[in-house]
């Protein structure tokens, strides 16, 4: 057993248990002597935990949880170790320009003049759509907005994308198609009221540990609370389940439809709710009815679900019964296991269906709640409109009236914003491959490691005929492919807004100076805009100015962020939209009368799905289908990827934190003992994993966490020989365009 990982886990366990008692841990409760504490938000996942950042002698030295925020003072161990991410010895501290194949030190003027020249020349010579921006759910909202405005309103291209396309696009697709607008209707507070938790495709314990703690606390408060976990792998999350459904990969959509049929057959549906609030749809049209839905569900029997999923019928029925029982308040949570799939949007629709037909929605504890992986994918990219087909606050590129509204606020001539959606993430990098896109600006993300089938796109980025700019805080698998590298200021070295999973916007304060010559992404983009001739478009002196503009754009939309002023954000511990005025408390139950300011006070029902023209959410008929690449004779194993508790994303930050890398960093391939026996493999042996894209050797980890026919590799290892995305497939959901990271086919051999 690894002593270092054990130590990390023990420290994490102690931290969480003590935090549950409201006690600080000695190891992390820095003495307050000489430390100035400033309110902030954790840099990592989408939970958006409030923290206090401790600075001494101009250096960030400590983190503690914010008891007045939703996390009630709890922070995971990664969060406690955040100060280290600023100070690793290889921070990028000055611009770099590639000369004769090598990145060499340059001045800011030299670097930004080169970027401006390349981008403006390309637009002139090759057209507006020859340039692109690829951003991140980790940049502050003002930063993503600056890029969005520069590219859509300046260069005139909608080639604006971000890494949320890789993780949350299917959730967006699910919310928009079912409810009419993006983002969940509930909040974390629902956890404290739920009787039943349905966690599917989510390793909450490792990916969102503070929410996992909150679920555990809810169970502690009421032992009658039940937890259902559905996942092809037994993860730490599964270990607190009352019912654990270890379904065969890709059979979850069948199981979800079988749950719906069980509700119908066992009188667990809420007919009154359906009559007042639900429409039925197939394909893209909401033109079906209840009878057609019942007919659609006919093949999805529990018997068949048990056969297909290889779960026991008793467990399936018990889970469905718990979920659907009329007296239970049920909260569903999911993440990449559902989203990163060929039919990710459909998976989302099917979860929403379960809540709509049972009426378990819009009541505290009854909600459908997608978990997010990044701190600002929701606020900064989804809400702010930082994708190729959208504009700020629910507006669409395709709608003339939406473009006109944005053009008016931006003060640009009518017709400036193109009516043509730009290229989505994978299409963007494929266009780099075909040279349709010649210049790309990549900010705060690492596609050289995180894209599926990554060899293909690494080659495109490395091509000398493409011009790649990367702004980041450390060297990454993407900076090594860049023509220009811009040293960015890190979290805590700059100010901006994060919007987390529960629609909560929070201000992140600057508490220390950037390292070396590093500059905030916001400043870099404003400077670049001026050098490209768009100085008037980005005239801001600080992110405060950009935020004022965003409030204007969001004010009269269904997001209603007008009350989330900068002054309020400085003072409060986060504000949840819709929030139309500065004295509004924020909205915990969206679409609910008496809570959501959009619902008229005299509306005759408790809930109003006002983002749909007929105020009805849609129950979609979504069948079960095969994955993009299923195991076959040649490639007989399912290959899946995911997270471990120590690391985050491509480990550009956690990989520079010594406790975390000592605990774990190497990707192993998890193999079930039955398969390991057939291969003659023991833990620690090398296993060659081969897909149709590439072949890599990983150390084996033999464990019945996995199931026969399935292997798992964690996604964080940046070693070129173990980057799991050399194996994954670059197929994507046809609706959301989100890649299907979670399933492809491989073969195995003892190395």
């Amino acid at each position: 057993m690894s002593a270092t990982r054990r130590q990390f886990l023990v420290a994490s366990a102690a931290t969480s248990a003590l935090a549950a008692l409201g006690k600080p841990t000695k190891a992390f409760s820095a003495a307050d002597g000489g430390i100035k504490w400033t309110k902030g938000v954790c840099r990592y996942c989408g939970v958006g935990c409030g923290v206090y950042k401790g600075v001494r002698d101009g250096k960030l030295v400590a983190i503690k949880g914010d008891k007045e925020n939703h996390n009630k003072g709890f922070v995971c161990l990664k969060g406690f170790l955040l100060p280290q991410i600023l100070y690793h010895e290889d921070r990028l501290t000055h611009p770099l320009i590639k000369k004769n194949g090598k990145l060499v030190k340059a001045s800011w003027d030299e670097a930004l003049d080169l970027v401006a020249k390349k981008f403006t020349e390309s637009v002139k010579k090759n057209g507006k759509d020859s340039v692109a921006f690829y951003g991140s759910g980790q940049a502050y909202t003002e930063e993503s907005y600056a890029a969005n405005k520069l590219f859509k309103g300046g260069f005139g291209t909608n080639n604006v994308e971000g890494n949320p396309r890789l993780c949350m696009a299917s959730a967006v697709g699910g919310y928009v198609t079912t409810f009419g607008k993006d983002e969940p209707m509930g909040t974390y507070d629902d956890i404290d009221h739920a009787d039943v938790f349905f966690l599917i495709g989510s390793n909450t314990a490792e990916a969102h540990p503070i929410l996992f703690q909150r679920i555990a606390r809810r169970k502690e408060a009421d032992p009658n609370v039940k937890i259902i976990v559905a996942d092809p792998r037994m993860t730490p999350t599964g270990r607190i389940a009352d019912i654990y459904l270890k379904f065969k990969p890709n059979t979850d959509l069948f199981v979800l439809n079988a749950f719906a049929k069980y509700f119908v057959d066992n009188d667990l549906v809420d007919k009154e709710f359906i009559k007042n609030h639900v429409a039925f749809g197939k394909g893209k049209a909401a033109d079906q009815n209840w009878d057609a839905y019942v007919a659609f569900l006919a093949p999805y029997t529990m018997e068949k679900a048990a056969e297909v999923s290889e779960c026991s019928i008793e467990d399936l029925e018990a889970a469905a019964k718990l979920f659907g029982c009329k007296k239970n308040r049920t909260m569903s949570m999911w993440t990449m296991g559902i989203n990163q799939r060929l039919r990710g949007v459909w998976g989302n629709n099917l979860i929403h269906n379960l809540h709509l037909i049972t009426g378990k929605i819009g009541i505290p504890g009854s909600t459908t709640f997608s978990l997010t992986g990044q701190p600002n994918a929701c606020g900064g990219v989804r809400d702010q409109g930082g994708l190729c087909h959208i504009l700020p606050y629910g507006r669409l590129v395709k709608k003339p009236e939406h473009r006109a509204e944005v053009e008016k606020v931006w003060g640009v001539p009518a017709g400036t914003i193109s009516d043509k959606p730009g290229k989505h993430a994978l299409a963007m990098f494929q266009a780099l491959e075909t040279k349709d896109i010649k210049c790309i600006y990549i900010m705060c993300t690492n596609p050289g490691q995180s894209l599926p089938n990554v060899n293909r796109y690494r080659k495109a980025m490395a091509d000398p005929d493409t011009f790649v700019v990367v702004a980041d805080i450390y060297p990454t698998r993407t900076t090594e492919l860049a023509d220009v590298v811009l040293p960015a200021a890190a979290w805590s070295e700059k100010e901006g807004v994060f919007g987390c999973t529960e629609r909560r916007y929070q201000l992140e304060h600057q508490v220390v100076l950037p390292q070396g010559e590093a500059r905030a992404d916001f400043d870099i983009l404003v400077d670049l805009a001026a050098r490209c001739g768009y100085g008037k478009l980005l005239p801001w002196k600080s992110p405060d100015d950009a935020w004022e503009e965003l409030l204007l754009l969001g004010k009269d939309t269904m997001y209603q962020i007008g009350g989330i002023t900068r002054a309020r954000l400085r003072k409060d511990h986060g504000v949840i939209w819709p929030c139309p005025t500065e004295d509004h408390p924020g909205t915990k139950l969206r679409y609910v009368k008496g809570e959501d300011p959009w619902v008229p006070k005299d509306y005759p029902h408790r809930i109003m799905f006002y983002a749909k023209p007929d105020n009805r959410a849609v129950v979609w008929f979504r069948p079960w289908e095969n994955a993009a690449e299923m195991p076959d004779e040649e490639y007989p194993f399912f290959f899946t990827t995911g997270r471990v508790i120590e690391h985050w994303h491509t480990a550009t930050m956690t990989g520079r934190c010594k406790e975390l890398t000592h605990a774990k960093i190497t990707s192993e391939v998890e193999i079930h003992p039955d398969d390991a026996k057939k291969l003659g493999v023991r833990t620690g042996d090398g296993v060659r994993v081969t897909s149709r894209r590439d072949s890599l050797i990983f150390p084996a980890l033999v464990t019945d966490n996995s199931q026969p026919g399935l292997v798992f590799v964690h996604m964080h290892d940046a070693h070129l020989d173990r980057m799991c995305n050399r194996i994954t497939i670059d197929q994507f959901d046809p609706g959301s365009k989100e890649p299907t990271f979670k399933i492809c086919a491989v073969k195995l051999a003892k190395a």
Binding site: M1, S2, T4, R5, R6, L9, V10, S12, A13, A14, T15, S16, A17, L18, A19, A20, L21, G22, K23, T25, A205, P209, F212, Q213, A216, R217, K219, E220, P223, M234, P236, T237, G238, R239, I240, A241, D242, I243, Y244, I645, H662, A663, K664, T666, E668, P673, A676, R682, T683, G684, D685, G686, I697, P699, L701, V702, T703, D704, N705, A751
Partner: protein, 119 residues
């Protein structure tokens, strides 16, 4: 709260290793005791191998960390503790981790190390 672990019977019908190669679990938990009994329960818990009491409220709650090379074994031990000690009302996990034996180079097998050395 009953922890649900996969079955993994050992050679003598007792709790055996869940994972073929000794993957261990580390659990952080709150132990709920009868009012005022936390200190005496803490004394008894300290005698259990691989269990550390890391804090308490001095009244009815204790924070513990418990490690085990067998998840199933740990589950049974927790159940026995709750059944066998009337002052303990429940054990509520706040953290679950699996120590899978990965990590530093010394944990690798000779075969894998050879592959790495050979590049």
């Amino acid at each position: 709260m009953t922890l649900q672990f996969e079955s993994g019977p050992g050679p003598n019908g007792g709790p055996g290793p869940l994972f073929e190669d000794g993957v261990a679990v580390v659990v952080g938990a709150v132990v709920e005791t009868q009012s005022g009994r936390a200190p005496s329960v803490a004394c008894r818990l300290e005698s259990i191998a691989d269990l550390d009491v890391v804090g308490g409220d001095g009244d009815r709650r204790l924070a513990i960390v418990w490690c085990s090379s067998s998840a199933k074994g740990l589950e049974r031990a927790m159940e026995q503790l709750v059944k066998g000690d009337e002052e303990i009302l429940g054990i509520f996990p706040t953290f679950m981790g699996q120590d899978d034996g990965s990590g530093p180079a010394e944990a690798r097998s000779e075969a894998m190390q050879k592959l790495i050395d050979e590049g």
